[in-house]
């Protein structure tokens, strides 16, 4: 018999895979390939730009969307339809926060877990930091590839 936590975790993996693929494919017009899920012992931000959202309510936890500055810039340019303009640091922070918002908002709408509330997103950018959360359960990592860019979504509930 699967525990509630394990069941919610399975639902989250499936929903985040679907939602993130839908967003990236519909917004960037690229084919997206998702790697098999990986289980990690700690929740740690490992990329240059990260958007973090807390899950509250019936399924408390934390979700992060992260990638390199180069990949994020390509995704934002594609999503906004502005391929030429140079992006500022504010655009990148804004963009990764909105990406996290869209992924978690879509997850909330499409998952069968009721009663989830999502926080406003927090954006982090840089390369000389270690950001790590202590969580009650292992972290699940989903990695998405499109052309020569990738996006990582991690969560722990």
């Amino acid at each position: 018999m699967m525990s509630d936590q394990a069941n919610n975790c399975r639902i989250m993996v499936e929903t985040l895979q679907n939602v993130t693929c839908q967003i990236l494919e519909s917004e960037t017009w690229n084919r997206v390939v998702c790697e098999p899920v990986k289980t990690l012992p700690i929740f740690q931000l490992t990329q240059e730009v990260c958007g973090v959202i807390y899950l509250l309510g019936s399924c408390p936890g934390v979700v992060a969307v992260m990638t390199s500055q180069r990949s994020l810039a390509a995704i934002i340019k594609s999503i906004t339809g502005n391929e030429t303009r140079e992006l500022t640091q504010e655009d990148l922070l804004d963009g990764v926060a909105e990406l996290a918002n869209m992924v978690c908002g879509g997850m909330k709408s499409q998952s069968q877990i009721s009663g989830i509330t999502i926080s406003t997103p927090m954006a982090i950018m840089g390369s000389e930091y270690v950001a790590q959360w202590k969580t009650a359960h292992p972290t699940q990592q989903l990695t998405f590839h499109m052309q020569d860019h990738s996006l990582i979504v991690i969560f722990s509930i």
């Binding site: 804004d94 909105e98 869209m102 909330k108 709408s109």
Partner: protein
């Protein structure tokens, strides 16, 4: 037809703009505001025909913005754009004078279905 997009995220304002264009609506001008306060100023000065507003914004949130627009007697349709799709929040927005609600992420089809009625 002039549309006002009120959102603190410049990226989201561009996403909405792109979505409106992809949906094929005939739009003469799209104006942008970064929060409710700027949104009120822009609407007072420019009298747009449709307003799309975020919920969570600094200075003045989306719900307060809707209430403030209605206080002035302005009946311009206002559609909320948000990830928060809770029934209670939608009901609160409608009670405050909003005319509809779009959940992010959205597609051009979603925009057509929700906003089509506001385009003549």
């Amino acid at each position: 037809m002039r549309v006002l997009i009120v959102d603190d995220s410049s990226v989201m304002r561009k996403i909405v703009t792109r979505g409106l264009r992809q949906a094929g609506f005939k739009i003469d001008e799209i104006l942008e505001a970064g929060d409710g306060v700027k949104g009120l100023e822009t609407q007072a000065a420019s009298k747009c025909d449709l307003i799309l507003s975020d919920w969570n914004m600094p200075n003045m949130d989306g719900l307060t913005f809707v209430k403030e627009v209605r206080k002035t007697g302005d009946k311009t349709p206002i559609v909320m754009v948000t990830t928060e799709g809770g029934e209670a929040k939608v009901a609160e927005a409608v009670k405050s004078g909003a005319n509809g609600h779009i959940k992010k992420p959205f597609t051009p089809d979603t925009l057509r279905a929700t906003l089509g009625q506001f385009f003549k």
